[in-house]
Symmetry: C2
Subunit: 214 residues, 2 copies
């Protein structure tokens, strides 16, 4: 968690102000995009002044990087909060359902906060691109962690590669979110998550009792 600007110590008040700026900026950026969100927007919604923004961040790009890091923690935190571990196929199915259900939230508008930023910033800010790449890695690692536990317990075939399965699932999630946002329909996201889950189910080892799900 590179913080930079630590030559300057933040007081309690300063920390609160900085946090308020980051969270508000995150919401605005999610709704309007990075380029579509002006610093004046952020100032107005946070009740801060220009000098405050530039006191806590070197420039707009630095603020956007803080937004990326905050969103990354928020998203992964929300996921582990709802489903502590993706280490059973049942948990994976609930995870998929949760992702699909998220389309309703904003009436179909808004894709994945990280995916949208990645698309907008990857070729615009090298620092942001690297950060977003790491964000996806972290998110995928959380998924791979559950798959790995399944593999250790012998529920997934030895040949299954948790890291690759997690990455494939992430591509499905991102592509599904994008199409759902574009077509204002949960259909593509549902099909994407079903595909990702089936891609994992391929490596499930049959167990005594109940049959392979789905």
């Amino acid at each position: 968690m590179v913080r930079k600007r630590q030559e300057q110590v933040l007081t309690k008040r300063g920390t609160a102000t900085r946090q308020r700026i980051v969270e508000t900026a995150a919401r605005l950026v999610y709704e309007q995009g990075a380029r579509g969100t002006s610093l004046d927007d952020v100032m107005e919604r946070t009740g801060t002044s220009k000098s405050q923004l530039y006191h806590y961040f070197d420039n707009k790009d630095a603020l956007l990087r803080a937004v990326i890091q905050w969103q990354t923690k928020r998203i992964i935190g929300a996921q582990t909060g709802a489903i502590p571990a993706l280490d059973t196929f049942e948990a994976l199915k609930r995870w998929g359902d949760m992702i699909v259900a998220s389309v309703i939230d904003n009436g179909g508008r808004g894709g994945c906060p990280l995916g949208s930023l990645a698309s907008e910033l990857a070729d615009y800010s090298e620092k942001a691109r690297v950060l977003l790449g790491e964000s996806f890695d972290l998110w995928e690692a959380e998924i791979a962690r559950g798959l790995d536990a399944m593999k250790v317990r012998g529920e997934l075939a030895p040949a299954a590669d948790p890291g690759e399965l997690a990455t494939a699932a992430m591509t499905a999630l991102q592509g599904g979110k994008l199409l759902a946002q574009t077509q204002r329909s949960e259909r593509p996201l549902r099909l994407a998550m079903d595909m990702a889950l089936e891609n994992i189910a391929r490596h499930l080892k049959p167990k005594r009792g109940p049959r392979r799900a789905r």
Copy 2:
């Protein structure tokens, strides 16, 4: 193909100018994004004037819509040009390889021209969103066409739904492109396309002779 502005007849020269504007704008928008491309950029690169842009397009949004339609035709045309029909699993594999190889083109930079525009414009321009939704439908229809042929020939199980398989493949393609662009690696795209192809292979009916591929 809604053209609008047909109250005004275009001469041969006018058509050429308009086309030059659209193609150049498409390249700039692909490289810099829609918001990152100014009309002055387009003017400079096409050697046109402000009045020409506004002569052929109502406003910037209308130009962007023309870009979307042109890219849609270009992408689908390029695909059918390289692989006339995705009606064998071999053709599908070549298609997947072609998609993966496309990452090299711009040194990893640049995602899918349509996907990038969708992410940027879906919540910004309703007209553009609808158009992009239709673009994905057209592209998917081209994929579904091949799958349907396989189904008719009995190579795909009757339960297989070409439309759903095509949509799932499109989400994999888009998500894979996005992650590849973000991480400057073809790995996520390769895993995505493998997943999409496997998702189709699930419905392959075994045929005499060679075993199920992959």
